[in-house]
Symmetry: C2
Subunit: 236 residues, 2 copies
DNA sequence: TTTTATAAATTGGTTAACCAAATTATGCGG
DNA sequence: CCGCATAATTTGGTTAACCAATTTATAAAA
């Protein structure tokens, strides 16, 4: 069997349920930041769910910085205040899956920044990596093949050169979904490859010459088509 | 025991090691997008690690959209091309923990966008939520107490009103670490509370009147101190 | 009473056995 | 050789028992 579409694990409901119960527990027991949560066994028993589910949920809350597990010691509430805990947990519970428009909007925002930062901070190694990604994209695009991957890798190389690890992580996070959506909505089907090469090259040159203003403008031009497409697709 | 500092799980090394081996396996066996990975048992056996570790690693790669687990069927490589897989996996392996400067830089970037979007898209409910957060912050700050949590919740309320779920998620992701760093570096210790109330109120008013340009400017003013502080702390 | 050494209990992490669903292999009938 | 029902196998997920480190309780010694 080959995987065609994308399936989503439906354990989100269980996790959210457990998150709610943990929140109730914290409020009911008046647990303060830094306090220890009941053990995983007690929680799974009290909530009537498997300990695996409890562990997964705790790991999720760890990702958002709400909890912190210490081996052989316990799970602790982060030192960020009860008010913030409640507010953030509510936000986490209400989080919805990102739509295409929100993804593209965010990508454009991030990349107009990374290209500026890369122009200012890029090392020689960074420049070499970007050039390699550019060449790979060019040869693939000229051959007439689909070059979405090489396209995105060029942009990721710029993100890496920005020297901002947070933005770099975020770019990595949204890239796969963007690739999938691109192919789903056939964003890059046209013969925009040749245009793309020119635009990519201009961006690269601006970064090379450490001209952040020009680099941002070239990136903006590069995104102009995508921008329109994004708001067109929205209604789909 | 109360948790004071922050400890980091050192299972990152094991995970990265497994990620590398999975990457090698994909390349060695010439697995294509959509193909099925060997079962968790075979991987844990071949890599000589526990199946739990394999599962955790697979979940991490699932988060980045590289893999996809289907119950009772197998783990599949996402449909995003072998080139992109290799490039992204390399990036994931090289990812470093976010530093304070990178966090603040990203936060400012995101919030200058959310405040603009919130001005354009906020519903009446959104406005009410922001107002509530503002009032909570005001009363806490006026009492002379530490109001970092209420401060951040105000900003999160704006992020929610932006209508961009991706940025909203990102804001939630970086907020806890920002709170911790703020208290660590004593960013908000001064009597900036009164100034903060004024600035927050101005931002709120601009959003209420749906004036994105003004809102962005007010947010920029609000961040001017933080901006300087960020680049000062960098050298610490 | 305080201190310290020792044992019991608790903890998150790990391992292995088990489960139900999905896949694959098998073999019968045509 | 093909079609199809059935059995055997494989799969990710779940459960429970186990482990080593930590914490707490206990009591002996000062």
């Amino acid at each position: 069997m080959k995987l065609e579409g994308l399936a989503v694990n439906d354990n989100k409901g269980i996790q959210n349920s457990i998150i709610s119960k943990i929140k109730e527990l914290i409020n009911y027991k008046n647990l303060e930041p830094g306090d220890k949560l009941p053990s995983e066994r007690m929680l799974s028993d009290k909530f009537n769910v498997s300990r695996s589910n409890v562990r997964e949920t705790i790991q999720k809350l760890e990702f958002y910085g709400i909890l912190k597990s210490i081996p052989q010691s316990g799970t602790f509430i982060a030192n960020i205040g009860a008010v913030a805990i409640n507010g953030m947990v509510d936000d986490i519970l209400r989080l919805e899956d990102p739509d295409f428009k929100s993804l593209v909007e965010t990508r454009i925002l991030l990349e107009l920044k990374t290209v500026k930062l890369a122009s200012l901070r890029r090392s020689e190694d960074d420049l070499k990596n970007i050039k390699e990604a550019l060449d790979a994209y060019e040869s693939k695009a000229l051959s007439g093949e689909d070059a979405v991957q090489e396209d995105l890798l060029f942009h990721l190389a710029i993100a890496k050169a920005s020297g901002n690890s947070t933005i770099n992580t975020f770019m990595l996070t949204i890239t796969p979904q963007i690739i999938i959506d691109f192919e789903k909505y056939h964003v890059c089907d046209k013969n925009q490859a040749v245009i793309g090469i020119k635009e990519h090259t201009e961006i690269y040159e601006a970064i090379k010459e450490q001209n952040p203003k020009l680099a941002k403008q070239k990136m903006k031009d590069h995104f102009s088509v995508l921008y329109q497409y994004c708001y067109k697709v929205e209604s789909v």
